[in-house]
């Protein structure tokens, strides 16, 4: 694989085919946990790790996997990887595990993971597959963090609250109070805020893309898929 090919994997995963903003897969966790930056970041990192490990295992086994059993095999592998991550989080990031709760095991159901397994890892060698998992996970993670930031800022006027759950005691000081005495904007914290926030992010991405390529919005690849 050439340097160009690797670069394409990176830009596809993070921008051109961004799971959250373009392909719109894995929306359930995306919408559910993004009420703060830290929740988004934590689920994003867990999903990224899952993608890298599942892509790696599937790429290694790809020669053995016959077409008729590949889907159950993918499911087995992804479920094992996610359960391992869940156990590790339960043991080492206990407070975060409690906050994210059911959404950690639900990473299994994120279609983006089986999607990458099928579309990429089962056809490519381990290194590009891991990179693809990293890029796709990074794109997803960035979307989660951005959406978390939008919602946390409008909903509570803070950023990075609860950082100590992810990074340890010292990080409690990281919480930024951007808008002091914020009365709390419930809509942003509750599920509708997730839909509005995601819509705004998608619109922002599309308009950025349109401006960058000087083409009308309708011709942008990706825009029509939404």
């Amino acid at each position: 694989m050439t340097g160009n090919g690797l670069k394409k994997i990176l830009t596809d995963g993070t921008w051109q085919q961004n799971t959250g903003l373009v392909v719109l897969l894995g929306l359930c966790p995306l919408l559910a946990v993004t009420n703060t930056v830290i929740n988004g970041l934590a689920l994003g990192l867990a999903t990224m790790l899952t993608l890298m490990l599942s892509n790696l295992s599937i790429s290694i086994l790809r020669g053995l996997l016959r077409p008729e059993i590949r889907i159950p095999a993918f499911v087995l592998i992804i479920a094992s990887v996610v359960t391992v991550i869940e156990l590790l989080m339960h043991a080492f990031f206990y407070d975060l595990y409690r906050t994210l709760g059911i959404f950690i095991p639900l990473i299994v159901t994120n279609c983006a993971i089986i999607g990458r397994a099928e579309a990429f890892a089962s056809r490519n060698s381990p290194l590009p597959s891991v990179l693809d998992g990293f890029a796709t996970g990074l794109g997803f993670c960035i979307t989660l963090v951005l959406l978390g930031a939008v919602r946390e800022l409008t909903g509570r006027g803070t950023l990075l609250s609860g950082a100590d759950m992810l990074l340890g005691e010292w990080a409690g000081k990281l919480t930024l109070t951007i808008i002091p005495e914020h009365p709390g904007f419930l809509l942003a914290i509750l599920p509708p805020g997730a839909f509005f926030g995601l819509a705004l992010l998608i619109a922002a991405r599309n308009s950025w893309q349109a401006r960058a390529s000087h083409k009308p919005l309708e011709q942008i690849q990706g825009a029509h898929e939404i």
Partner: protein, 215 residues
């Protein structure tokens, strides 16, 4: 893999091997993390208990001195009430009771109620709930001071009819736009107090039973 085998057998074997590998991996990780997870659960539980119960007031192993009670006459919720007994040199000091109020606005509210041997409330904390954010969630200690109002209360302070939210003629505040959540909490705390008063001796004397730390 033998090329001569029937494809179905080959595929099944392959899937079986992947399942086996996955299981082995999970068993290994489970083994490695199990003790740590149990320790984390205990630490968290103890942290919750010590928020209400001063560490210096007891010297027994709180998490081991536990009984579970089921008394449908008092606690209508099917979940058994977990009772942690605090003792100082074998003398009963207080109980911490994990009760469930089923009449919240949106499902169960789990409460930790600490009562000392004299029948006075040490404190109450909401352990878990699904009340509406912004309306019912001031029952959480992080969201408002409301829950601290239970400390020092007892069956005689306030009297029987005072154990209700103000809208029902009692002595406890409700929240703007939310009466059901605080009402459920007040009721559950009152029930717990009444139960404690009626079964105080048994609560302290029943031998501890080894129970699962299911939360």
């Amino acid at each position: 893999m033998n090329k001569g085998w029937h494809p179905v057998i080959r595929s099944s074997l392959l899937l079986g091997i992947i399942a086996l590998l996955g299981t082995a991996l999970l068993a290994g990780v489970n083994d490695l993390t199990h003790d740590r997870i149990v320790a984390q659960e205990k630490r968290r539980m103890l942290q919750q208990l010590n928020e209400i119960l001063p560490v210096a007031s007891y010297n027994n192993d709180l998490l081991a001195d536990v009984i579970k009670i089921e008394d449908p006459g008092f606690f209508r919720h099917p979940t058994a009430v977990t009772v942690y007994r605090a003792r100082l040199d074998e003398r009963p000091v207080s109980v911490m009771m994990m009760v469930t109020a089923a009449d919240g606005y949106n499902g169960d509210i789990r409460l930790l109620v600490g009562i000392n041997a004299a029948g006075t409330i040490l404190g109450v904390r909401v352990v878990s709930h699904r009340e509406t954010p912004g309306l019912g969630d001031p029952i959480e200690a992080e969201k408002s001071d409301w829950i601290f109002g239970f400390a020092q209360k007892s069956l005689h302070d306030p009297e029987e009819k005072g154990w209700a939210v103000k809208r029902d003629g009692g002595g406890f505040d409700q929240f703007t736009g939310a009466t059901i959540s605080p009402r459920a909490v007040v009721r559950a705390v009152h029930t717990t107090l009444v139960y404690f008063q009626a079964n105080k001796q048994a609560l302290f004397d029943t031998p501890a039973a080894m129970i699962d730390q299911d939360d």
